[in-house]
């Protein structure tokens, strides 16, 4: 009887320990919780704009060139650029969980509005 009780205790302790570690990982160790990926994508685009890189690429609809400037160790990424007539360069990724950040520009050297979307998704 005592042995069974010890076994139940051990099982419960194991469950508690695993749950604790899982919670710790999810809450404290994940640098980019999933709901923040969209914001992170926007920040990456803003950073590229502040460094003077984004607008020339956007003006030329060079989504591939812009995408090559982004590096991510554990997320796949893709760029889509749309102009004011909603003619778009680049494609929406075919993945299950995709986060997107949007950056809007009025133009580069002249009025020529674009939306630049950065898609982030987990590597399969």
């Amino acid at each position: 009887m005592k042995g069974i009780l010890y076994m139940v205790e051990a099982v419960l302790a194991g469950i508690i320990l695993i749950a604790f570690l899982a919670a710790l990982k999810a809450v404290y160790l994940d640098p980019n919780p999933q709901h923040e990926y969209g914001v992170r994508a926007h920040q990456i685009l803003r950073d590229l704009d502040e460094r003077g890189i984004l607008r020339p690429y956007a003006e030329d609809n060079n989504y591939a060139g812009l995408n090559n400037l982004i590096s991510s160790t554990y997320l796949e990424h893709g760029i889509r650029i749309c102009d004011s007539s909603w003619s778009c360069a680049g494609t929406v990724p075919n993945a299950t969980d995709v986060w997107a950040g949007t950056y809007i520009i009025a133009g580069n050297d002249s009025f020529s509005p674009r939306t630049v979307k950065l898609y982030l998704w987990r590597s399969s």
Partner: protein, 184 residues
């Protein structure tokens, strides 16, 4: 028997403490969450781009039409992000010793906008997705203009001999509402 009871007591205590830990996680969520709404970032981005749109328009000699085009573009761009965009703006341009006021409405309804400088008031009826113009003659170099539209009002201290822009815009998604004002 006493030893077994103690063990059970500690076991129950451990479960209770573990439960409190999990219950407490949402309360301590602010430790890692910053602003989770992308509307905040998007509205900041849009506010910055209004100044560029105006400057591009001025360089091309079409500030008013570029502003209207840009606002239409913003509406479509924000719809793609599941947000509803509305805006009201005006641009003042020097016209001799007076000014022209170009006011634009993208509030999804027609708006009566009143512009008052000194004792002179111009009231413009502006349809949604369009703009209208008022002229003021004999304006001082530094002047205050009272503006009221759609239940909003404000006083703006402006310089006659420069182009001034004011924009107020809203982004709405569900219960989340972000309003920003741009004044340059």
């Amino acid at each position: 028997v006493e030893v077994v009871m103690k063990a059970q007591f500690f076991l129950l205590g451990a479960i209770l403490l573990a439960s409190l830990f999990f219950v407490g996680i949402p309360l301590s969520g602010t430790l890692v969450k910053t602003s989770s709404s992308d509307l905040t970032y998007l509205s900041g981005n849009i506010a910055d781009e209004f100044a560029r749109a105006l400057n591009f328009g001025l360089a091309e000699g079409a500030p008013v039409y570029d502003m209207l085009d840009f606002v239409r573009f913003l509406d479509a761009a924000t719809q793609e992000n599941y947000a509803n965009f509305t805006a009201f703006w005006f641009v003042t341009e020097p016209q001799g010793s007076g000014i022209n006021v170009y006011a634009g409405n993208y509030m999804e309804t027609d708006v009566n906008a009143a512009f008052k400088i000194g004792g002179e008031t111009n009231i413009l009826l502006i349809s949604h997705d369009s703009n209208n113009t008022a002229n003021f003659a004999g304006v001082p170099e530094q002047f205050a203009m009272n503006v009221s539209y759609a239940g909003h009002s404000g006083e703006f201290n402006l310089t006659r001999d420069k182009v001034n822009l004011y924009v107020s815009f809203w982004l709405v998604r569900g219960d989340s509402v972000t309003r920003k004002e741009v004044s340059i």
